[in-house]
Structure formats: C-alpha cells, structure tokens
C-alpha cells in the first residue's frame, strides 16, 4: 500500500510528464488547475491518466475544487485497493 507521500509523488510525476513541465517546478501544495493552467479537455485527460495509473475510478467531482496536489493525492489514496 502506498503512503500519501508516495501517491503525491506519483501524481506530481504524472502531471509533469503529461503537461511537459519540469518535475522540480511542481510542489505538493501547488494549486493543481492554476499551476498547470489546464482547460476542460486537459482536466479530463488528466483524470483518465490518473485512473489508469492508479487502477481506480476517480469521479469528476473528486477533482472539482481540489486546491492542491496533495489533496488530490488524498482523494486518490482513499480509493486505492
């Protein structure tokens, strides 16, 4: 079972890779939507990639209003088997 820190790291790795930003430029407390400047299509793509990577279902409303990567990681963590 992953720890919340491991999950957060994997979310940051995935975001850096998918949005082609430097991994070092992303921090767990960064605002997910603002930092990446993502639009609605990119948000859905990210959601799908997170679901594939972690092998979970992550309903859209779990991403809605997420303030930072760590919070998002927490919501993913709650669905890990």
């Amino acid at each position: 079972m992953r720890t919340i820190d491991q999950t957060t790291d994997e979310v940051l790795d995935l975001a850096a890779k998918h949005f082609k930003v430097k991994r070092e430029s992303l921090a767990p407390t960064d605002d997910f939507f603002k930092k990446l400047g993502i639009d609605s299509l990119q948000a859905l793509e990210m959601l799908t990639r997170l679901e594939h990577h972690f092998g979970i279902e992550l309903p859209d409303y779990e991403m809605q209003g997420v303030s930072d990567f760590r919070t998002l990681a927490g919501r993913i963590q709650a669905r890990l088997q």
């Binding site: 609605s40 948000a43 859905l44 793509e45 959601l47 799908t48 679901e51 279902e57 859209d60 409303y61």
Partner: protein, 251 residues
C-alpha cells in the same frame, strides 16, 4: 462500408447545423443500406467524439423567447433529432461508433444508437444534464436502459460523473477497447468482419435483438419539455455558457 465523420469544431456540438447535416445523412440511409452492410460513426476532431447538444446555441436562441415559445422550439428540435437517431438505431446496416475522447450528453446518445461501441482507452462517457435541471433529451435514458442494467443508468445519471472506457467496457457499454488513437482502425477491422455475413440475416438478427423503445422515447421528450420550463434551467445554461471552470459540466 459507409463512414460518417463528425467534424464541427470546437466540440462536434449538436446544434441546428449539425442536425441538418445528420438529417441529410439519414435521408440517404436507405440508399446506403442497399449498397453497404456497415456504418462507422467517428470524429476527426482531436480528443472529442462529441461534447453533446450545443448549449451555447440553445441559450442564445432561448434568451429572447417567452416560456411557451422556448418549449415549442425545444420540442421541435427534439422531434427532429429523435427522428435522426431513431433512423440510425433502426437502419439495417451494422453500426459501429468509434469513440475517442469526450463522449458527453447528446454525443453519448448518438453513440448509443450504434450496435457496437469501440472506444479509445482515453474516451470518457457522461450524462451531465442534471446539472442544468434537465434529463438527457436525445433518447439517452431509454437506449441506455435497453442496453444496460438500471443501476448503471442511475449511477451515470444521478451523479453526473464521467466514466472511462475501461469502466464502460466492464459494464457492457463498450464492446472493444482500443489503444490511444486506434479506435477508428479497430472499427474498420470490425466492419470488415461484419460485412462478410449475409446482409439480410444481419439485419433480421438486429431487428430481433434491438427494439426501439418508442413509447419511452416519446415520454422522454415530454419530460424534457416539462423540466425545461423551470427557471433554474436558463440559470444553469447561463452559468455553463459563462463558465471558465476546468470542469464546466459539473454543477
């Protein structure tokens, strides 16, 4: 085989122009079904099969009208799109939706008319209509209920969440999963297979298996029109049209 390519930027939204083009296409379905055995519906836009009904057009069109005229306009549009979707559902051609990216609302309802859905692993399916105080209006509930268990329909409808292709495959909505960018290729390979069968036999099997739920479809139009008179609907449409949120389809 025949291919129907959706290509209306930005999101293959189904508004009046798309409706007219679909009507032209379905007017030719009888001719196609004499000459072909399979139909593939796909999108040539990146990351989108169809975002659904054109809500911006709906909002702008409805704004200057009084309530009675709004409902009359909506009812007329629904009757026309239902005629198109019923024709696609009912055609003797074996129909395949090759879906990638966003397949939401009316776009999802278009895919649901097809006999098979082949989906890219990045596809997402969603019925977000409840956020506007509405239900799907293009035959979504009757067709989804015909094809899947009621519990799946309730989950999609009552939460408004989107599901990915893998989940959609798990519940029996998607017949084949494709790698990224490969849905159309797989759809064509499948069409090559289905056209090997005798056309009249395939058509007879389809007629036997896939009844069109006309009565429920009629009731859906009535319910949609009834719900559309609520003031919250125009407010929901305004919020959507003006939204800059990354998840604008959520309430």
């Amino acid at each position: 085989m025949v291919e129907l390519e959706l290509h209306r930027a930005p999101g293959n939204e189904i508004g009046l122009e798309m409706l007219e083009e679909l009507e032209q296409f379905t007017n030719e379905l009888d001719t196609f079904s004499r000459e072909a055995s399979a139909l593939i519906i796909h999108s040539s836009l990146p990351a989108i099969f169809s975002a659904g009904a054109d809500l911006r057009e709906l909002y702008r069109g409805a704004l200057p009208l009084d309530a009675a005229a709004r409902v009359a306009g909506i009812r007329e549009f629904l009757h026309r799109i239902h005629a198109v979707l019923n024709a696609l559902d009912d055609t003797p051609l074996t129909t395949i939706a090759a879906v990638h990216g966003v397949c939401f609302g009316g776009g999802f309802e278009l895919a649901l008319t097809c006999d098979l859905i082949i989906a890219d692993k990045m596809a997402r399916f969603c019925f977000p209509e409840l956020r506007l105080g509405l239900i799907p209006g293009f035959g979504g509930i009757p067709r989804l209920r015909r094809d899947l268990g009621n519990a799946v329909v309730r989950d999609l409808l009552l939460t408004g969440r989107s599901i990915n292709a893998q989940k959609a495959s798990g519940v029996g909505l998607v017949s084949q999963l494709a790698a990224e960018g490969e849905a159309l290729r797989l759809a064509r390979a499948t069409a090559e297979q289905v056209i090997k069968f005798d056309r009249t036999t395939s058509a007879a099997a389809k007629r036997f298996l896939k009844p069109i739920p006309f009565e429920e479809l009629r009731r859906e139009i009535d319910l949609f029109c009834e719900l559309s008179t609520k003031p919250a609907v125009m407010e929901g449409l305004r919020r959507f049209v003006e939204s800059t949120d990354a998840l604008p389809y959520l309430p």
